[in-house]
Structures are given as C-alpha cells and as structure tokens.
Symmetry: D2
Subunit: 341 residues, 4 copies
C-alpha cells in the first residue's frame, strides 16, 4: 500500500548504503574520531560558511534537543518554545527529565511571534517575583516547524535580535532542515541561518539518512565538555563512523539539498492534486508536509489504499490530515495518489 504517513518510511538514500558497504571493513576509531566524521565535519563547516564551527553527530531528534538544551542551560533556566513545539508536546518530557521547564508562547502555524517572545521576556524581567520563577535561558524554534511552515529571513533576524537583547542563545531544531531551506517560500540560506542562531542541527533521519542529526555550534561555541554531556545523555554512538559516512555522503555533491528539494517539489504536486479537486489545505505549508482537510467520506474512500496521518478533528466534523513526501518519494507515487483521488 502507498504511504505518505511520514518522512521516515524508507531506509536511507542508496548512496549512503553504498558508502556504508564500501567502507564497511576498514577499521576506524570509535565515538566520532574516525576519518568520515572528520570529513563530514569539514563538509558541513563549508556548507555553513563557518570555518570555526563545532560539529557533533547525534542519533535522533529528541535526543539532540534534550542534550543541546541541557548543555546550554544552567539549572535555574528553562527554554522558551511554541506551545506546539516538538519539545513542548511530543518528546515525552525529555527536557523536563533533564530538569528544565519548557516555557511556552503561542504557536502560529507552528511559528513563534517575535512580539509574543519579547512580551514573555519583558514580563519576566519586569516581574518583581521573577526570582521565584524559571529564568528564560534559551529560545527554541523549529525550521521548518511541525506544521511545515518556514520563518522568513526577517522573522529570524527579529527573533535573533530579541535573543541578543536578552543575551540568551537561539536554538534551531532542524530535524527537517533540508525541506525548509529548499522550499520555494524560504528566503534564507544555510549560511545565513548559521549567523542568526547559536546552535542548530541538520536533520538526517528525515532527509535521507538511516539516522543522525548534525549539531552545529557555528562559532566554535560548544559548551565545555559537550562530548561528555552527549555521553551522559546516552547519545554517543560507539560506531560514530555510521553517522560520519552518512553526513559525508549527504554533503557531497549537494545530495542533501537535491533530495530535499525533490521532496518539496513533489509535495507541491500533492497539494495541487488536492486543491484542484476542491480539497482545502489546513495550513499553507511550503515544505514536504501537506495538510488536506478531508471529509469522513473521503477518508473512507482512501482507506486501505493510501496511508496518511490524521492530525486533528475540526468542529465541522472534517479531519485535518497529513501527507508527507520525503527524499524517497517518487513521481510514480504521486501519480498513484492522483489516480486514487
């Protein structure tokens, strides 16, 4: 059965498996000290335009969020995120497990608004009881967001400036970074993004890798002993080569962006297929996740033929659904979807 249920339905880009096979029996040191990690770090520094960047490879997104946030906050600090942010909802309390509160501002199609962020910070610092409260010590945003939307350059600059003003770092969760940066709606480059935040990660799991997220501290600003914090969080992969080889491959010949771009193009076709049939979108998402609003009848008609996620029930009885493309989606699958509808 055809599936658009998520963007981690397949294994890895074939070139990755090929490289894993080619290098398989070469002996390499563990824990990220292998030649592939070194090379992948170099390629990522180049792609980000950050020659001094500290780069670390972790395995998954929740793990990366928890480790990065815990490493950058002091014990009395929390992290500010959208109410709909992944860390606020779908990580089983991994941030709180590390002792930190997630302070929330409203999510607007997944995005935080600068004025609401500023209001939270102003209110906190103007509150006479602030010493009894959790200090907002970091801002977390996802790019693209959980709703597929992307921040404009202006929005990012504004958030960046608020963070500067309050001297707190900005962390960008890039679990789907490729799909954001290659979106037609995106007006920012990876290099620009790197200048606007203090730490971000380049998602591999959802963009062609078996697993893996590349954490980038753009100005060599990794917290002291971040390696040990990674280990403490159970996030250190013994065979670091597995991550190194994957990012080395993804950042060779523009592969990461090419496959992301293809997924976004196909997502635009998915959207068009729905819209031309009069099926509206819940959100105007310019990335690989599309959110058609389906009637129960439409859902029933698709059952057993194509998989997708149901997202939310609307008051009028219709259902917001999610159809995701990925690096692995083919034009043929899009054609099949079209013929089903």
């Amino acid at each position: 059965m055809l599936s658009f249920a998520c963007d981690y339905l397949e294994g890895a880009h074939p070139l990755i498996l090929k490289r894993l096979s080619e290098t398989n029996l070469v002996q390499e040191p563990g824990y990220g000290f292998d030649s592939h990690c070194e090379n992948a770090k170099r390629l990522i520094r180049e792609a980000c335009g950050c020659p001094d960047a500290d780069v670390f490879f972790l395995v998954g997104g929740t793990q990366t969020n928890a480790t990065v946030i815990d490493s950058m906050l002091r014990g009395y600090e929390g992290v500010v995120a959208a109410q709909t942010g992944h860390i606020a909802v779908h990580e089983s309390g991994a941030i709180e497990f590390g002792g930190h509160k997630v302070l929330t501002v409203p999510g607007h199609e997944g995005k935080i608004h600068t004025d609401e962020l500023r209001a939270l910070l102003e209110a906190f610092h103007g509150d006479s009881a602030k010493d009894h409260m959790v200090f907002p010590g970091m801002v977390y945003i996802s790019f693209p967001t959980e709703y597929g939307t992307v921040y404009s350059k202006k929005e990012l600059v504004d958030i960046h400036n608020v963070c500067r003003e309050y001297s707190i770092p900005l962390f960008v969760d890039g679990a789907r970074l490729g799909y954001g940066l290659t979106s037609p709606a995106c007006d920012i480059t990876l290099k620009e993004l790197a200048t606007l935040c203090d730490v971000f990660y380049i998602g591999g799991t959802k963009v062609g890798a078996l697993c893996g997220e590349a954490v980038v501290f753009p100005r060599g600003n990794a917290p002291a002993h971040f390696f040990t914090t990674v280990k403490q969080h159970g996030a250190l992969l013994a065979k670091g080569r597995v991550l190194g080889i994957q990012f080395e491959t993804l950042f060779t010949d523009n592969l990461y962006f090419d496959i992301a771009s293809n997924a976004v193009s196909l997502a635009m076709k998915v959207r068009n297929i729905f819209e031309t049939r009069g099926i509206p979108m819940y959100i105007n998402s310019p990335t690989n996740q599309q959110f058609p609003i389906l009637t129960d009848g439409q859902i029933a008609a698709l059952e057993g033929k194509v998989q997708f996620e149901t997202w939310e029930k609307l008051p009028d009885g219709r259902t917001v659904t999610r159809f995701a493309t990925s690096w692995a989606t083919t034009q043929k699958q899009i054609d099949s979807l079209e013929s089903l509808l």
Copy 2:
C-alpha cells in the same frame, strides 16, 4: 595499520548491509512497529525460550543501561554494581543524571561476589539509619564483564537467589553477550540466562551490528509504558526498522552466535601467541578481550604496527594492555599479529 583496539572498529556484518539494501525502499512504519522489528522480536523470543518476553530495540549500551535502570527503580532507589562496572565508571554519570545512585560492591576481575552483594543488602536492611540512605533497588551485572570474564551458572544462580530473597530485580548488561555465551568457559545457555534475570540485553553494537541493543524482559515484565520512558530518554529510534533488520539478520541461522564464537576462538589464539612468547596475561579472560602485560620495550616495538589499548600501569613499570577481537577479525589478522611479535 592492524588494530585490536576494540570490538567496534568495523561497520556491520555484510549480511546486515545486504538486508538493509534489499529492504531499503519498502515503506515501513516507524518507532519499532515495522515488520522487521516484529520478526526480530519473535526470533529473539525463540532464542531465549521466552514466548512471553517483551523485547525492545535501543541504539547503544549506555543509553540502554540508563533507560532500563531508570524505568525499573523508584525515585528513592539505587542500583548495585561492581566498582568496575560500566555504569559505575564509564557512562559519564548517566545513571545519576536520571536521579539514581550507583551503589558499589568490589569488582573481582569485573565480577561481583555473592557474599559481598548479600553483605551489602544485609547491612542496609539491618541499618537503623536505612531510611536516610539510598535503597538498593536492583542489581546490575555485565556478562561478560568489562574484564572479559564470565559468571558461572552457579554464580548466576546464587546472585539470582539473593535478588529473589530481597525482592529486587537482576539486570544483565549483555553489551558483549555473544562473546560470553560462546566462550569455552561459559556453562550457561541464553535460555538459562533468561530464567535467572529480570531484564537483560543482547548487545548488537559490539557483535556485528552498526548499532543496536535488544532489551529483553523475559516474562513479559516490562515496566508500564516502557516505550514512553525510552522516548523520554531520547532513546527511541524513528526508523526502528534499522534495528529490526539487524537483529532479524543476527538471529537468523545462528549468525549472532557463529560470529561471536569465531571472535572468541581467535581471541584464544591471540592469547596463545602472547603466552608462547612468555608474555603473561593480566586476567584469565575466556572471551574476546585479552589483557597481555607488556614491557615498555615491547610496546615501543609494536608502535606504528598494531593498535591496542593501554589499560593500566603496574607498579613494576609494565603495562596492562587490551587486545580485542570481534566478529570482523580474521585469521589473517591473527597471523599478522603473530608475525609482528
């Protein structure tokens, strides 16, 4: 250069890469709900003789230790381990990060002694101040140990009985389980081991997999919502298939045990090579790790030709070293080592 530095120097057993490739573009659900995980769980239940076992796949050893221990302890409890146990020394405080103390008993070539375990438990329960102390809520042992030694069946039965007596679970860290069970010194089977403990894991990372540890609760005794605890620890792999396929392959046609057995046979040859040259072993290890005691001259002579770990400096100036074989070690490498010495 030849290396015996550790047992995670190469990628994965070629059959695993083959299976990853063959299944690569088949769409499967995430988070361990794919057909490969299901099949791997079935194969593991069979191998363990535990039809009711709960099986979960995690990525790495420290992560698995921290997640399992945290899930089974109440807040006021700690875990008892050997002073030399991995969780007590080399996990950057991952257990304490979860709020739990590691209570230690002496390690004897990596093993805990039943009488010392019993003494700790008796002393605790007989202490009038015990309510001001950390409750010993679980026992952790590694099989084989960090020093390559294996517990005898009798030793395991004794530890098991002490745990029963005090109603606390026994957890077996099997990061190198294959090398233990296929050791000529081992008098216990996987099925027997499963009856003697409350949770254990079958190490994949060090025994042929790219990554992965299979946690087994032998009698369907996983703590409630263990899945959520795994997520909370950042230990849930989105593409669970990557772990499922690997364990499916390892537990088909006895592969896991065959490759482990081969590594142990070659380790016995490594040991013989040293001993026939009058180089003594620090520990009588019957598994894949061997600990020759080398002089500075011997170390200098090997430099640049073969890699190994230095373990400990002895008072007489000699050095305990570690030479590890693995599923990937070949007879040719052993021959090379022999000709070097």
Copy 3:
C-alpha cells in the same frame, strides 16, 4: 509602617512560642519521631476524620509540592495544574527539577474547570501519539487558590470524579487551607475534603506557624518509603519537634480555624472599606486575600503609609493590588487602613 503585603509578615501565634518555650529542654528524638509529632498527627487525624491517615510534617510549600508530586508520579508522568497554579509559575521549576512536566489547563480566577480538565485527559487518551507525550498522572489544585477563590463542594466532587474515572490521584495544595475552610463562601468541611482527594496539606506557614506544612494521605495511602523521599528532597527537619509542637498547638482547641476565621472576617472588612469608597475588586475573593484595583493616584497616596503587593497592570492603566490579612492581623490595623483611605 502598616503592611498587608502578605500573610507571612509576623512570626507565629504566641501560643506556639509559648509551647516551644515550655518544651524546649525536654529531650526528644529527631526526624519526627518525637511525642509532639505523634500527638499532632493524632489531632490531625481526628480533625480530618481519617483514623488511618498517614501524616508527615514538612517545612514549606514549594518543598511540599515538589516532594509529594515526585513521590506519587512515575518517571513518565506529569502533573496537571491551572496555568496560574503555584507549581506552574512561582516555584522556580521545582517540579521540573524532579523530572516532571507541569501540564496546564486554563486558570479561572485560580480555579480549574472540570470540563477543561476532562478535555485534556480525553484528548490525551484519544491521541494516537500519546506514547510520545507526558502522561497526565495527577491533578493539582490549590484550596483556596492563588487568587483567594474557593472551590465549591460540587466543583470538588466533579474534579474528584474525573480523577477517579482516569485513575489518577488528586492533590490539594492547602498552603492557605484554613483561610479557605473558614471562608463564608466555603460549603465543605475538612472531613469532606479529605474524602475527595488522595493527598493534601494543611498549611502552617501562612496560618500561624513559624513554618510547617502537614501532609495528609487520608487513607493511609502514602507512597512506600515516603520518609526517604522527603529526606532525598532535603525536606526532612532534624528537629521534627519544631513542626510537631506547632501543629499540636494549632490543632488544640480549634486554634487553627479560629485564627483563620478571624483573618477572613477582617479581610471582608478590608474589602468593604475599599468598596464603600468606590474602589472595585479585581476578583470576588471570599478569603484572606483581597485584590483592589487602584489608580496611580491612589497608589501614590498610600505610598509610605501602607504596604501591599502590586499584582498586575490593567490595560486602562490601573493596577490590581493585593491586600492580605492573616492570623496576626488586628482590628486596629484595619481601622488604620480605613483612616488612611
């Protein structure tokens, strides 16, 4: 200068100091095993109509909230509270420090609404992604609330029923319990309250004691080894007698309720003083905290003469203030306030 800034401006009820002096040099065992704690527990069990209750004495409110909540939740669970709840805002993240998320529902003058509580629980249990989320494992309410309001018996029964339905405990923060139970608006007794929740505490710090909160598990349902959890949280007072003597005194001859009742009566006069001068209240609080809305001019006129807290700036420029009475407030102070206005 006159102060209505809070309800912990003075020391303790004189009878408490008298009893501390009378018993001062009698030798008593530590950690709550003294005769006064025993006696106080007996008196509290009687007052609550709970002969089997487990009673523990802790020092302060935040400490009590953190200890009780941590002791009753499993690692993957969080606690549901009003967005304005003390644990959600003013405890510096003490709950998260213990690893637990505070899940919030809207606060309505400090109270949670049963339908919104039920909606949160229904939404969670109906969410296909719930295993990736924090389990709502407990409900926290304050009585009276941070805004001085009290739940009606019907409201409490409804919340109790929702908790029963979802098999999660209900915890009542009674830091100001006396002021709630003696409010003219209160239609519930202490004995009834005890039947409607799974754990609550009787606040001493704000109702006549130097410090101290009495935690009551009404049906002998304290979690195993709660004493050790108290110690682990740094909440065990060596000289438990200090807490025992205070609660013994407060629960002798109805002192606790008499002094609370007096504070509430005087608070009604404070309110009347403002209202008869045309100064509106922000909230219709029937307990010891009153929230007059003052203009900048009115605030300026009071400056240097009477202390109170500023709570919130309204859009129209006026300020919500808080005037609190306490067990120590006198009619003379009320008269002084009146003459000032």
Copy 4:
C-alpha cells in the same frame, strides 16, 4: 531518661526563643529580606573576616549540601567526598537526585587524605577515557567530620592547594562547625577557614538553633541566581526572619562559640569517664561526639537508663557506640552519666 543520642535532642538556646518572642509581631518582609537576616549576615561577615561574603540562610544540612553542590557544578561534573561523608551515605541520594555523582576517596576517621584526593584527580586527568567519566568538579569535606575528627590547618591548606591546582572549589560542610572550631585539637580559626575554601556553612541546627544553616561564599562568589536555585530546591523559607533571628542571636556576644565550646568541654569529660573505667574509644575524637566501645554486658546495664547510638559491631562482638553532647548538655547530665557507669 538521660539521652546522649544526638546533638539535636532539645529545642533552641533560650536566648533564641526569647528573641523570637520579642520580635514576633513586628512585620518583616519574607524570603530573607528582613532586617534580622541583614543583621545576621553582617555579623557573620564580621566573624568570618569576609566583608564581601555572600551569606544565605537555609533550613537543614542535607538541603544545604544538595543546593550548594548543585549550584556550583555543571551537569557533567560530580563532587568528590570521603566514602563515609554525609553526602555519600546518609542523604538518601539527594546529590544524585540533582543529577550529580558522588565520587569517593577513602575516609580515614572521616577525613580525606590529600594524597588520595590528588591521586583521584591525577588518575582522572591522566585517563584517556576521561571524557566518558564524571568530571570531579568540586571537593566536599565535613568539619568536624562525621566521626568527630577535625582537619589540621596544614591538612586544610594542602587540600585547598590541590583544589587550586585543579581549579575546583572546596566546600566545607559545617553542620557541626562550632564544635570543630572550639575543639582543643583545632588549630584554625573561622577567618582562616574562610580563606581556605570557596563555600562553607555554619551549622545552626546542631549548635543551638531550632533549625538553620548559614551558607557563606567568602569572596562574594555565590553562583548567579543562587536565590532561585534555593527556591528550586524547595529550600527557601518564607519567614526568613526565623533564620535571621537565630543567627543574629548566635553571632551576638560570641554565643555560638561559647555554647559549642561548653559542649566540647563536657564531651571531654564524657570521654574521661569512660576511659577511667577502662572503656576504650573507637576514635580519638576531640569534638562533641565520643565513640566508646562497649561490651554487650555494658550495653545491657545501661539500657533504660541512658540513650546513645550504636554505631557499628566489631568483629570481637563489642559495639562502637556514640555519645554526643550539645549546646544543651549540662554538667548535671554528665554527673548522672558518671554515676550510672
């Protein structure tokens, strides 16, 4: 019945109760911002010879240890202590609750030896696997120790120098500080102690107060937002005055040292009483705790007449006991003990 069971058997020095009564109805702000806390801080700064010291008042010892240690360590760091140290044994894992491991060196009658401390630090920093281990980030000692012994000035200077060399802070747990500083065996003053460590506390609970410990950061070196960390740990007392008044009283007219000195003198008499009867001491303790070794017959003879703690059973069947004097002990009680023996 006579009791020497511990040094917190009575309430508080009568002058403290007197001052609590005298100030009882004066309105003061909460959370340590009252005039008594201010005054007590001034008096303590003077006594310590540290005009720039940051001083905070907490309620109890375990709480203070957990709060101070957590505030000064980064997430990947642990604290070094004697195996017999209070934080290592008798705090129910409060340090680990905050996420930090207690790294231990042997305890020698409660003291750590500089050479063993240095060896631990050298071994750690020389270990090629140190990034997989918990960083020793602080040293904890108790003065006097849990066994009543005191460090000499030379020993403290040596420990101080090792800490300087490794750039880690030294924390002195002074739960019984008064009894240490007024011991005839003590060759160091409070002012000298303050120069040799980075943070220490002056124990009130065991030296005349109802409760309370005064934390001193001698050179104004409190961690940023320590107040909030105190609140987060549930260690902030609403009526800070209760602590302020007590330390104000204790540090007026040398009261703290006078009452401690008297307790030590009486302890020396206790010891003499035992020794002149041929009863040996387990440890040569020059402070308020004495450890006679009693036979079962001797213990039986004292039963029902005098209370004391049993500490440890010796291989020869005799029992190490503890007799503690305190600020409240009288010559008459010593006489009674003598006549009993």
